[in-house]
Each structure stands twice: as C-alpha cells, then as structure tokens.
Amino acid sequence: MTQIATGYQSPRVLPGFEHINRYWDKRMNLAAAKIMPGEFYVSLHGEMIVTVLGSCVSACIRDRVHGIGGMNHFMLPMQGEHSSAQWGSSTVSSASRYGNWAMEFLINEILKAGGEKKNLEVKVFGGGNILSNMTNIGKRNIEFVKGYLANENLEVVAADVGDLYPRKVLYFPDTGAVKIRKMRQMRNDTVMQREKAYIEDINKKPKSGDVELF
C-alpha cells in the first residue's frame, strides 16, 4: 500500500502506470484509477477502473481466477487509404496496427502481472455514434475489437456497444463486475473535445515504435 498526497492508502501501482490519475472514490468507497483516451491501466486488486467513452472503445480484460485485470481506451486512426481495419482486407493498415497494439499491450500487461491467457475474460464497451461529423467511427472501432478478439480466440462475455450516447464505465477487476451509465444528457462537451483531440493526435502522428540495433 502506498500513502499518497490525498491521504488514502492506495493499492500498489504497477510499473508503467504511475502517471494514471488515481484517487479515492467516496461514493463507491474504493480506490479508483481514471483513464483517458489512449491510456491503459492494470490493477492487481482492490481498485476500480473508470473511464468515459464516446466513440472510443474499451476492452475490460481480467484473469477470472487471480482477479488481475485492466482496461484500455482507444479508437482507430483514420488515415485515408490506410484507414481500413477490417480483418482480411488490409491487415497491415496503420489502423489495424494501432488497434492491435492497444489490445496486445493491455493483454501483455495483465499476463506480466500474473494473469494467465487461459483464464482471460473479456468485456467490451463504447463505440457510440457521438461525433457528429464522423458517423461510422464508433461502428468501426466496435468491428475492429470484435474481429481482433475472435481472431485471438478470446470470448466476449459481455458487451454494451454502439447507440448514440457516451458511457461512463466503472470496471471492478477483482470480480469482473461493471457498472455503466449512459449519459443521455451532458452538461458540457468535454467527452467529445477529448476524443477529437485524441483522434487528431493519432492521425497527425501515427504511433510507431522505435528501432534499436545492438
């Protein structure tokens, strides 16, 4: 347990996730980690993972035996001729590579923390049609995740995807429970602005890993 500035005893954070916003959620009486578009979080125990999804999708994945689990939050980049992400059409598009990385990164971090692939349980959320000038973006993200999981032989045990509204998702990796609130009325456009900034960022600077020769 780690004592942090707000005074609560937070569960130990795994290496690589120190930058994630973690706090004590008074309403749920539980430690929480809130992830933004493009972020990931994996928890060993005693935490909930929170995010708000518009057109983005989140896979909530956990080892159902050990209770180790995490969440990602991403969407696919849109880059003209290379934007296709359908399996079997253009399997090396930048969209496919980015989506593949977003899924694999989460799964690898869960396995590194002690999870086992044979125990993985997957739930999928998001992909709402909320960005007015990008009508297919949510659908495209949903299709990618479903295709990826089928290809990896990972069964989806629950999903709440599509529709017109953003979703607030609370995920409890200890038990696999999920609480979802569809935000039919929003006080501001923060969710849309965050997603727009995120997609502009990944479109402008396609994520590509570095290369080092020894």
Binding site: V92, R97, N100, W101, N151, S208, V211, E212, L213
Partner: protein
Amino acid sequence: MARILAVDDSASMRQMVSFTLKGAGHDVIEASDGKEALGKAKGTQVDLVLSDVNMPVMDGLTLVKELRALPNYKFIPILMLTTESTGDKKMEGKQAGATGWLVKPFNPDQLLATIKKVLG
C-alpha cells in the same frame, strides 16, 4: 530474399507480420511460441528470426538464448518485435544475444528496412 521465422503468440500479429514480409518477397515460417519456434529452427535453417518477447510456454528472450547455443544460429540475426519498450528489457535482450529491438506498433517500411540492414 530471406527465409524468416516469425514468432508471436498473437494470431493477429502473425498475420500482419507475415503479410508484410511475404509482400516484400520473403519466405515466412510462423510459430506461436518460443518452443515451437525452436523446433522449427532446428528443422529448417532460417536466415533471420523475428520474435515477440512475452509469450506462453517459452518467451522470446529464452528463445534467443536457446538459439544462440546452437552452432548454426550463433550469428543469424534475431530481432525482437514487442510491446516492451523499457531500457531494462532491451538490455536483457541485448545480453541474451538479440541483434535488435523493435517496439510495436511496427511500421512496415521500417521493419523491412531493418531486416534488409541486418541481413547485410
């Protein structure tokens, strides 16, 4: 063109890598973990190994050590293609005997250029 052993436990990643390598004219042999890769490498001589790090059964770094112990794989280029990006992990790869380290998501042109470079 080279005969390349592509090792990854993710079927999606194997598809993308194979598609890229075959598109450039390479001959690709696939394996889904280090143990399967080691068996295939012993059965057929390959010119280059491109391997993931985190895999069940036998991980990529163990595979590198096992391959380097074989006389005919002592000097064959072995590139790691992984989500791991920390300096510590790269150092482990270097010490195990890897030739280079590529962080996912890969750029197809960059991957092919790196392969060309290490094949000489």
